[in-house]
């Protein structure tokens, strides 16, 4: 997640114009996400992704990042948390590697976690993130701290019951002033 120094993921109306994104960051992020085989989204972020990525790589003006991420997006298994979208057979064929989870969140996620496979990466999706954190289903936090104090907005952490200890794995400093903080959850 891209966060402000005061731990917001977006402005009060979902503004993301303060998030720094450039080739240095895209290349860094691209390396790790190519190591995951599953992407997890809340409905709103998923719909944003669906409206852009499938065709982004085919535009004549497509950047290197857009070409690469577009390819990755079409291949990756997608999990979408949504009570309103559903898995019915009239869905577009493009969504065939997409599974909608509409209830029993903990049970469904744990079942998938217990299957063999690589890491599941959760992108954007603040509302889904809040639920997953509250249910203790997040195993690691891969955060990009932007050089700004927003003052208000949508927080990353909402309604958490107990403290969560973390282990810092790596950090990275980007020339644009963003700092990567890469943690796993300490379950001892």
């Amino acid at each position: 997640m891209h966060i402000s120094l005061d731990s917001f993921v977006a402005g009060p109306n979902g503004e993301m114009d303060w998030i720094k994104a450039n080739d240095e960051i895209f290349d860094f992020v691209g390396k790790r996400i190519s190591e995951g085989d599953t992407a997890l989204y809340g409905r709103v972020t998923f719909q944003m992704m669906e409206s852009y990525w499938p065709s982004a790589g085919a535009k004549p003006t497509a950047t290197k990042h857009e070409i690469e991420h577009s390819k990755w997006y079409s291949k990756v298994h997608k999990l979408v948390l949504s009570k309103t979208l559903n898995n019915d057979s009239t869905r577009d064929a493009e969504l065939s590697n997409t599974k909608i989870i509409s209830d029993n969140l903990a049970e469904n996620i744990n079942e998938i976690k217990n299957q063999p496979g690589k890491d599941i990466l959760l992108f954007g999706s603040p509302t889904a993130t809040h639920s997953l954190i509250q249910l203790n289903l997040i195993d690691g936090y891969w955060l990009f701290v932007n050089p700004i104090i927003l003052g208000r907005g949508i927080p990353l952490f909402v309604d958490i019951k107990d403290k969560i200890k973390l282990n810092l794995l790596t950090t990275h400093q980007f020339t644009c002033g963003v700092t990567e903080l890469n943690y796993t959850v300490d379950r001892q």
Partner: protein, 195 residues
């Protein structure tokens, strides 16, 4: 001109203290203590809001503090302290100047005096006022590897964001990450004097 540095330990969810001023979650070790000593030595004044001042005064003057952290205790007790409070009657901790109002003017005066930099600890309410008045020259935020869930946020709600420039970072063995920032001042709107 002297700089005002804001330093704070924070949790990943942005708290500088837990409920009831709890600081048990601080990741503190020899590496941190060396850093804290160097930092304190490099300034010759400490700024507080009332609550942090009272909490610190009640700790650093105890024999526990002098036994467990003698070097820092000596510095905390000896250094010039400035507490900003409209309601405090008298500041009783050694070497303190109590400033009751005109925050902006008084701070600008302090900055113009000769001396080393000044540092602001804790004091989230006062720090917010300072931030809104653009009085903070450097932010040093030490993110501890913990999500505390409940506590007192360091950065209070403001309607205006504060864009910053990252100067450097330092990662500690404990998992703490110290981020050094300066406020962006080039694009700041000049303070409206008349409309």
């Amino acid at each position: 001109m002297r700089k005002i540095i804001l330093f704070n330990m924070v949790t990943l969810d942005g708290f500088f203290e837990g409920l009831n001023h709890n600081l048990d979650w601080h990741h503190v070790d020899a590496e941190f203590n060396d850093f804290a000593y160097e930092q304190l030595n490099a300034v010759d004044g400490i700024i507080f809001g009332r609550k942090t001042y009272e909490l610190m005064a009640s700790y650093w003057t105890t024999s526990d503090a002098m036994t467990n952290e003698p070097i820092i205790a000596n510095l905390m007790n000896a250094k010039a302290k400035f507490v900003f409070s409209k309601t405090m009657k008298k500041a009783t901790w050694n070497n303190t100047l109590l400033i009751k109002d005109n925050v902006f003017l008084e701070v600008e005066k302090l900055k113009l005096l000769p001396g080393k930099d000044l540092i602001l600890f804790g004091s989230a309410t006062l720090a917010s006022t300072f931030r809104e008045l653009d009085l903070i020259d450097e932010y040093r935020i030490m993110i501890n590897p913990i999500i505390l869930a409940q506590g007192n946020p360091l950065f209070k709600q403001t309607s205006e964001p504060s864009p910053l420039t990252l100067i450097k970072t330092k990662t500690f063995i404990s998992g703490n990450v110290l981020l050094f920032y300066e406020p962006n001042r080039e694009n700041k709107h000049p303070t409206a004097i008349s409309k």
